[in-house]
């Protein structure tokens, strides 16, 4: 009998105006599309927020986050992903703080949230690797 483990939900803070917001978005997509496509799924935070609306809402996102493991990727101290998941579903299983990773790689910090450039992409890859490690840990523990 094949046992199918549920995917890990990834929630990016997606913050506006901040390079950290862009980095969380890019890193999330790198994880879900390239690094761990079979063990992760994106939870779109805006859709998640609009979740209790019956028609075309993100109710399924909220249900998923209630029942399954989630990782939030936070760009600033507001911790919007973490707050939203806890408010609408259940506490996030893990949280990655982008600012901490940025401190370790100051040479790659981009200037513009609109265009993070090649260095920003390198930083997003590094963040994505950190997230992927956490994904593996949580996925194996199921």
């Amino acid at each position: 009998m094949i046992s199918v483990k549920p995917k890990i939900g990834i929630i990016a803070c997606s913050g506006e105006k901040l390079v950290e917001g862009t980095l969380t978005r890019v890193a999330t997509r790198i994880v879900v599309e390239k690094l761990r496509p079979f063990t992760t799924t994106i939870i779109c935070q805006p859709l998640f927020m609009a979740g209790d609306i019956n028609h075309k809402g993100g109710g399924s996102e909220r249900e998923f986050a209630k029942k399954h493991k989630t990782i939030t990727i936070e760009g600033c101290d507001e911790e919007c992903g973490k707050v939203a998941v806890e408010r609408y579903s259940a506490p996030a299983t893990a949280t990655i703080y982008v600012k901490e990773i940025m401190k370790q790689h100051p040479e790659f910090i981009p200037n513009s949230p609109q265009d993070i450039g090649d260095d920003g992409m390198k930083l997003a890859e590094i963040i994505a690797q950190e997230v992927a490690k956490k994904v593996d840990e949580l996925y194996k523990s199921q």
Partner: protein, 287 residues
Amino acid sequence: MSKKICLLPCNGLDKALGVITREVSLKVIEKDSSIDLICPVLYNTNEKKYDEILKDAQIIVIDGCSTRCAAKLADMKGQKISKRIFIPDMTKKFQLRPGKKLVLDIDGEKLVEKIAEEIFTEFITELTTVTEKKEERKFVGVEYFEITVDKYHFRVPKEGYYFNENDCWAKIEGKTALVGITDYFQNKAGDVIFVDLPTIETKIEQFDEVADFESVKALLQLISPVSGNIIDVNNELENSPEFLNCDAYEQGWVAEIELADLEEDKELLMDGPTYFEYMKRKIVEEN
């Protein structure tokens, strides 16, 4: 002074067009830093952060998919939306199909540029103009002829307004005129539930259709008493079409027209006293 303009994008991440909303917003504020960007996730989590910015602001929401998360968020927070941009409509309009990759492709970049440009040339210009004009626009001391027939009350302004036989009016203000529908028209139409406003900069001839209305009874048109160029519209009617019923001659104005030839137009119009008599005859004939 104009009201503050804020952008509220959906900021979606799981669909390509959601990503476009964020890129468009960043592009717009890069060009004009007086425009504020509302981060939807932060607004949801900690709305107090935006209390001051959103006070009396005009909000443009930008949604990437039919879930319309940004519009829902604004509704949930009790905010009035001044303009709505729906990216799938824009892809059709500009015939551009962005891909789903991490980095925007050529179509994606073009689409961002086009939408940002449209926000400036259409939406922001319109919102700024409307705000400035509304602050100037006052209806002081309008005096009315009045008549009550059965349970219906009809008013006709005594001076300053001209009327056509289609029961629409033009209030002359120098080189421009506000246009709208008369009390008689709105009484016959019943409760107006939707107004389709014209596009600014549309040229119209006398007796052309300016706007369409949907009431509980019928679909109706405002037939222009004057010719010229539409320079402003009453966006308040989109949210409050009932102004056409409860205050047809003042808050219920529909559009402002830069006059082409008022003297010629007047040849086919009635002044207040004449229209009042004309309206009374119509009411008597109907009873």
